[in-house]
């Protein structure tokens, strides 16, 4: 652990970065909440040259969950006699109107859990229907898949399947003409599951450097240095900085489990729009565990962004939180308007608390 946080190494890396850094602005995007935590936790932005911009992409699973999914969960737990479980970060995110936290304080049975196994355990001990609001990227999905396989016989258990995939989102951002990104720090945790190959396809298609990075401060700085070296040498490719955890081929067993249980579908990302093949839904054989099919609840037209909210632009790297008129005024972590200011991984939360 020490070398990854060693100050002398940090200083050496910063020196190398300064040496190789070009004059023009370089925008490096990451798509992982934990990467943003590392950057802010250690104050890394302040150590880098001013023209190296680290942009927080759509890597916070809570921030990209659409209002319609949250509205559905709120209406479900308020109107039906169910226990709704979810991860803590999701608890306070506003949907079109209110949040699950407010629903709970009004009497709905919402429980914050730390792993889906707790939800299944609750289901075995109650007659009530238990619905898990299941969010997260590839890192989270295998544990969900495993629980689905184990709990498929439970008659009172289901999930609201809100999982999303990272590489299609990266593809979408790089395909957008008005978004300028010079390189990606690829999400280390996601990569432990999917490996490095999916980014290789993107690196080739868009001629952009892609470096799979770890989560210690010196991991991040080394990843940035590797991207700058690629830019200088004009050899965009996928490289792996996080070799101690992420393998080229990823976790074969986990990938198989994901594919056994889920299939891809188009999905809307809050503030960004519908991204083709970026969502996961349960395969037909697990249909009985699909909460949305089990409880046919009509929700009114939902609204992802209040007019003027810039969450979407921010996650695309086109705006910074300070550009938003609500930021820090009407929209605070205590009274959120947009989703990005709620989760500790959200770009607005981080800008509010650490800038």
């Amino acid at each position: 652990m020490l070398e990854f946080r060693d100050k002398t190494t940090t200083e050496a890396l910063i020196k190398e970065i300064r040496k190789i850094s070009p004059e023009n602005n370089i925008k490096v995007m990451h798509v992982c909440g934990t990467h943003e935590m590392t950057i802010t936790r250690w104050g890394l932005r302040g150590l880098l040259p001013k023209n190296i911009k680290l942009i927080c992409g759509p890597g916070c699973p809570v921030c990209v969950t659409s209002s319609s999914e949250i509205d559905f969960a709120i209406k479900l737990v308020k109107e039906k006699d169910v226990i709704l479980t979810t991860f803590g970060d999701m608890f306070r995110v506003p949907g079109t109107g209110s949040s699950l936290s407010e629903a709970k304080s009004q009497g709905a049975d919402v429980r914050v859990i730390y792993g889906i196994d707790e939800a299944a355990k609750i289901a075995t001990k109650t007659e009530k229907q238990v619905v898990h609001f299941s969010i997260g990227f590839e890192t989270t999905v295998p544990s969900i898949a495993s629980e689905i396989l184990e709990s498929k016989t439970l008659k009172n258990f289901s999930i609201i399947c809100s999982h999303r995939l990272i590489p299609p989102a990266m593809d979408y951002l790089l395909s957008s003409e008005d978004i300028e990104i010079d390189g990606f720090i690829c999400p280390g945790h996601v990569s432990t599951i999917i490996g490095c190959e999916p980014y290789g396809v993107l690196a080739e298609k868009f001629a952009k450097p892609m470096v799979v990075g770890g989560f210690e401060p010196n991991d991040m700085l080394l990843s940035i240095l590797m991207i700058l070296k690629q830019i200088k040498a004009e050899r965009p490719e996928v490289e792996n900085e996080y070799t101690r955890a992420a393998k080229k081929e990823g976790n074969i067993l986990a990938k198989k489990m994901m594919n056994d249980v889920f299939e891809t579908c188009d999905r809307g990302w809050r503030g960004i729009g519908i991204i083709p093949n970026s969502g996961l839904r349960l395969k037909d054989e697990f249909m009985e565990l699909d909460g949305e099919k089990k409880f046919k609840i009509e929700i009114r037209k939902s609204q992802d962004l209040r007019p003027g909210c810039k969450c979407g632009e921010i996650m695309k790297g086109k705006a910074i939180p300070q550009d938003c008129r609500y930021f820090g005024k009407a929209c605070t972590p205590e009274n959120p308007i947009g989703a990005c200011i709620v989760s500790a991984e959200g770009p607005c939360y981080i800008a509010y608390n650490y800038s």
């Binding site: 946080r5 100050k7 940090t10 200083e11 992982c32 909440g33 934990t34 935590m37 802010t40 936790r41 250690w42 104050g43 890394l44 932005r45 302040g46 150590l47 699973p61 809570v62 991860f87 803590g88 970060d89 608890f91 306070r92 936290s101 407010e102 709970k104 304080s105 009004q106 914050v112 730390y114 969010i135 997260g136 990227f137 890192t139 989270t140 999400p187 945790h189 996601v190 401060p217 010196n218 820090g328 005024k329 009407a330 929209c331 605070t332 972590p333 205590e334 009274n335 989760s343 500790a344 991984e345 509010y352 608390n353 650490y354 800038s355």
Partner: protein
């Protein structure tokens, strides 16, 4: 507090945004973070602010204790409501916590605790031995601090109407020297903590998540140590780092004093085990409760002597000077991280949840 600057600080903007308080009470409003501050400052304190000539420092000051000013005699008066799950845990218990919290709220104001009261709310069906053990723990802490419990009240509620046992305590302390406030820090002062941060919170986190650990709650009544420090003098502000732990409490000191608390991360004592557990779960030990630790600012000339005295006391062995008070940015805590980066350390919002990914 007036800032004297035309530009509103982030903390003021935060307050402005916080005025909209949800119409039903949420758990995060009791977690020691900014949501709790907003509820207390913008609703509770405002509705209950009644002036009297005997009040030296009232509810509007939001200090650890209020001050009753009788001319020659100044008293500090405080109260705590306590509930913990589980009721007994390594290093402490609900009973010891309830009186310890009250003693410490008085101690950090510079007041010698002289009397304590209790209110017990018991759930029908509570095993008697739990009550007996709880009272024994309360009694032991009060004996150690030399404070009598002089009055109390007991209620029993129907099963399910209250969770097992809730304790309210109140305490009176007498101020024999200077009142220590939570807004007196001056540029140049040294910032001290009396030991490792986050022990109580992280030991409970370990217990709740089923991690084997040697972490124990740091529960301790701090009057005797504080008495020695008061005799040295030079303390300009102090707070016990209870609910919410280090981050919200040091922020409160910085905000109320209208100065910058500049802190070196590598100087903040944290038990290695608490640090590791925090990293595994994505919970910051700096934002989890302590129950026997003080954060204080001290005039530079006295800082070393205060530190030495703390370290000689059994409750201050791991005390440290962690930074210094600077002029700007006003009202903020700046943290210089271990790798040399710099960031503002803010008050967490509400409950702490492990991150998803």
């Amino acid at each position: 507090m007036e800032t004297g600057t035309a530009k509103r600080t982030k903390e003021e903007l935060r307050k402005k945004g916080s005025r909209r308080i949800p119409r039903t009470i949420q758990l995060s409003q009791g977690a020691g973070g900014s949501m709790m501050e907003a509820l207390i400052e913008n609703l509770i304190a405002k509705r209950l602010d009644i002036k009297s000539s005997f009040v030296g420092s009232g509810i509007d000051k939001l200090e650890d204790a209020g001050i009753i000013d009788l001319g020659d005699i100044k008293l500090a008066f405080t109260t705590d409501g306590c509930t913990v799950d589980p009721m007994f845990y390594p290093g402490g218990s609900l009973g010891s916590l309830s009186v310890g919290a009250t003693i410490n709220d008085l101690a950090v104001m510079g007041a010698k605790p002289i009397a304590i009261s209790f209110g017990l709310i018991l759930e029908e069906g509570l095993p008697l031995d739990i009550l007996e053990r709880t009272l024994d723990r309360m009694s032991a802490v009060c004996k150690e601090s030399g404070v009598p419990i002089i009055t109390g009240d007991t209620k029993v509620m129907e099963k399910g109407k209250v969770d097992k046992l809730v304790i309210n305590t109140a305490g009176i302390g007498i101020i024999q020297g200077d009142i220590i406030s939570d807004y007196g820090a001056q540029p140049g002062d040294k910032i001290l903590v009396s030991g490792t941060m986050g022990d109580h919170g992280m030991s409970l986190v370990a217990l709740r998540f089923g991690f084997q650990s040697n972490l124990r709650s740091d529960e301790a009544p701090l009057w005797h140590m504080m008495e020695q420090l008061l005799n040295i003098g030079g303390i300009t502000s102090a707070k016990d780092a209870t609910r919410g732990g280090f981050s919200p409490n040091i922020n409160e000191l910085a905000r109320k004093s209208n100065v910058c608390f500049y802190v070196y991360e590598d100087k903040i004592p944290i038990k290695p085990e608490a640090k590791r557990l925090g990293e595994v779960l994505g919970i910051d030990p700096l934002s989890t409760a302590c129950e026997g630790k003080i954060i204080m600012t001290v005039e530079p000339a006295k800082a070393d002597e205060i530190l030495e005295t703390m370290r000689h006391h059994k409750y201050g062995k791991e005390a440290a000077i962690i930074g210094e008070v600077r002029r700007n940015p006003k009202g903020q805590v700046m943290l210089e991280t271990e790798v040399g980066g710099r960031k503002a350390l803010h008050t967490p919002v509400g409950e702490l949840y492990p991150r998803i990914c």
